[in-house]
């Protein structure tokens, strides 16, 4: 029983990471209609930026976090301005945009490999990483607390942004009906750019969290991207809270399944879960009545 509880805790924490990553991707999709596959590049670039500043240059950790946020936002904004916006202007087909996104991801990965090399980049473990406590039969690590607190802060900030600011109003309006929003004076270009920046900032934080825990390699982004896509489909395409729930669900499924099956089957379980949702509830956990629900 204690093992099951431990696995459940691990699954929740992992699920929060997946959920955050999926949330960012879903925000971009819900606002712009673009499935931004290069989102995987954002998380890796942010992780590398954090490592380079905090470890490579030996600067304070908060500077590393700032660098990660800046680079993450730059990747998202750059992808929109340099790739998607020109394609949208030329009324390119969605397939073309999808392929362009995958190309950006692949090229970006190659660039990171060229700059940082093939060796893994690790944040050296310290006293903080070894700190933890037992909550009944469950062992809580410092990293678990870091993830939960970060996720809480980000989600609160996003809630306030979307519901209490004019930026949030623009995101919701454009996501709901771009043409009507435009007639009401909302700039599509600025709103799309905003969506990419915010969505990428939301992905950059998981990048930092992963860099703290795991050696960073350039190909890290793709497997996380795949899981976030699964999370989005399970949660409901275009639904932000659904993406979060989807992430939590796959984190839990991946972790708890190891109690019953060899760990090597965990990925199979995730995709089996996806298949079940596609067949039985294709609209996802939260049916998307509006693009930004």
């Amino acid at each position: 029983m204690s093992l099951l509880l431990q696995l459940g805790t691990t699954g929740l924490v992992l699920g929060l990471l997946y959920g955050l990553f999926a949330y960012g991707l879903s925000l971009i999709f819900a606002t712009t209609g673009i499935f931004h596959f290069a989102h995987g590049l954002t998380i890796v670039a942010a992780a590398y930026a954090f490592w380079w500043v905090a470890v490579g240059l030996g600067l304070p950790v908060w500077l590393g976090i700032l660098a990660a946020l800046l680079l993450g936002a730059a990747v998202g904004a750059g992808a929109y301005q340099l790739v998607y916006r020109p394609l949208l202007k030329r009324k390119a087909d969605h397939t073309v945009i999808l392929v362009a996104s995958l190309t950006v991801m692949t090229l970006g990965q190659g660039l990171l490999l060229l700059i940082f090399g093939t060796g893994p980049k690790a944040f050296p473990p310290g006293d903080f990483s070894r700190w933890g406590f037992a909550l009944g039969p469950v062992n809580i690590r410092s990293w678990d607390i870091l993830v939960v607190v970060s996720a809480g802060v980000i989600l609160l900030a996003l809630y306030l942004l979307q519901n209490k600011t004019s930026f949030g109003l623009a995101l919701r309006a454009v996501g709901d009906n771009p043409r009507r929003a435009q007639t009401l004076g909302f700039s599509l270009t600025r709103t799309y750019l905003l969506a990419f920046v915010i969505g990428s900032l939301v992905a950059a934080i998981p990048g930092v969290l992963i860099a703290v825990q795991t050696p960073v390699i350039a190909t890290l982004g793709f497997s996380l991207l795949l899981k976030s896509v699964v999370a989005i489909i399970i949660g409901g395409v275009g639904n932000l809270t659904g993406a979060l729930y989807g992430g939590l669900l796959i984190g839990l499924a991946e972790s708890i399944s190891t109690f019953f099956l060899p760990a090597v089957w965990s990925e199979f379980v995730v995709f089996a879960l996806l298949f079940i949702f596609i067949v039985l509830r294709p609209t996802g956990i939260r049916t998307n009545t509006a693009r930004l629900a």
Binding site: T10, G119, P125, R130, T214, P215, L220, A263
Partner: protein, 394 residues
């Protein structure tokens, strides 16, 4: 306009047919049969990208050093041609075909069990000799009659380690965490068999997917079985595993093998989580002056410490092994091609090599070497400073 085009097409097809049907020119393998040449090509197919890319690049350098030194000793040049095997079976096969077709290499030095296995299957078809210098999956023994396993398979060092842990460290319950590929599965199997044979019990065994971000679930599961020792047999994922064991407060004996134990990148990434780890190594218990020279040469060339020094001796020596085989073939007027190279290795004769000394291949084209067990006092130390706790002879 169609007639000239169809004539052109027929001509092109005929030309293609003629060239493909012609016998393989002796020059494909570097020189006319029986006549010594001034240079011979040696191929090397390693993982040159991804998490293990740095290790692969180190191997290419070790072979390059060996080729330079062997060239000086034997009087003919050894030209190193490298390809990225990508760490996958497909990558290995592509690398083999490229090296054979474009590099004209009758021998290919390689590593990574899945790569070696895949290349071995194609080696006979292309008449290429494949020499394994770092992969240790027991499956590789006899995998092909064109594959020579210069590096001792897991049946040597992992078996010795498991036996030592059960008998000398008096551990009764072991758990195994292994990478989910040929290398990991083979080693996990060898460890389990040996530990059980020595009177212990393997209470849990979990695979870890390559590139895993988090392995706390697998670690929690194996620790739930209350082992008193955990063997970790992964590749670039070892920092994640050691950290997870440390975070979950495992205080038993952690063991691993040379690839993790002697990797400076992985030791740095693991930090204090790797302190106290016991690992097996096939490098000599006595510091080798040749290895030290290789290390110095590497540092002078690249300004940083090399990784995988335990493998350096095998990679470096493979150049001398090849050079000696070439000399023996020349002496008896035979062509330097893959099949003859393998036949020379399989003949059971002794080769006197700079690092490994006198080596001969077993009937199944494997070797048996002494094993050292080292303990990491501090992961920040250089691997050569790790304390030797046992040496197990051939």
């Amino acid at each position: 306009m169609k007639k000239p085009f169809s004539a052109l097409a027929i001509g092109a097809v005929a030309a293609l047919l003629l060239t493909s049907c012609s016998e393989t020119a002796p020059e494909q393998n570097g020189q006319p049969a029986g006549e010594p040449a001034s240079s011979y090509n040696v191929g090397i197919a390693m993982v040159l990208s991804g998490a293990q890319g740095d290790l692969g690049k180190n191997f290419v350098e070790y072979l390059t050093f060996g080729a330079e030194d062997a060239s000086e000793e034997y009087g003919f040049d050894l030209n190193v041609k490298s390809e990225d095997a990508l760490g996958t079976a497909e990558g290995g096969i592509n690398a083999l075909h490229k090296l054979v077709a474009e590099g004209n290499t009758p021998v290919i030095i390689t590593a990574w069990s899945s790569v070696v296995k895949a290349m071995a299957a194609s080696a006979a078809d292309t008449g290429t000799a494949v020499i394994n210098v770092a992969a240790n999956s027991p499956d590789l023994a006899g995998a092909s009659d064109h594959l020579a396993n210069f590096f001792p398979l897991a049946t040597v060092d992992i078996v010795a380690l498991a036996n030592y842990v059960a008998t000398e460290e008096d551990k009764k319950k072991a758990a195994v965490l292994y990478i989910d590929n040929e290398t990991g599965k083979g080693a996990a199997g060898a460890y389990t068999e040996s530990f059980t044979a020595a009177g212990g019990e393997v209470v849990a065994s979990e695979a870890i997917k390559p590139g895993s971000v988090d392995v706390s679930a697998q670690v929690a599961k194996v620790l739930a079985a209350n082992p008193d020792t955990v063997h970790v047999h992964v590749l670039g994922e070892s920092p994640v595993v050691f950290k997870a064991l440390d975070e979950q407060k495992f205080d038993g004996l952690v063991t691993t093998y040379t690839s993790s134990g002697e990797s400076i990148d992985e030791r740095t990434a693991s930090g204090t989580a790797m302190d106290g780890v016991l690992y097996s190594t096939l490098s000599s218990a006595e510091p080798s002056p040749v290895i030290e020279e290789i290390r110095i040469r590497y540092v002078e060339k690249f300004g940083e410490e090399p990784s995988g020094l335990s493998y350096a001796g095998y990679v470096y020596d493979s150049a001398f092994l090849y050079a000696e085989v070439i000399q023996r073939l020349i002496d008896r007027g035979a062509e330097v091609n893959g099949s003859n190279i393998i036949a020379e290795l399989a003949a059971g004769k002794v080769f006197d090599l700079p690092v490994n000394g006198e080596v001969s291949f077993n009937a199944d084209l494997t070797t048996t070497m002494p094993v050292s067990l080292r303990k990491i006092s501090s992961a920040s130390d250089h691997p050569s400073d790790d304390r030797i706790v046992a040496t197990i002879s051939k």
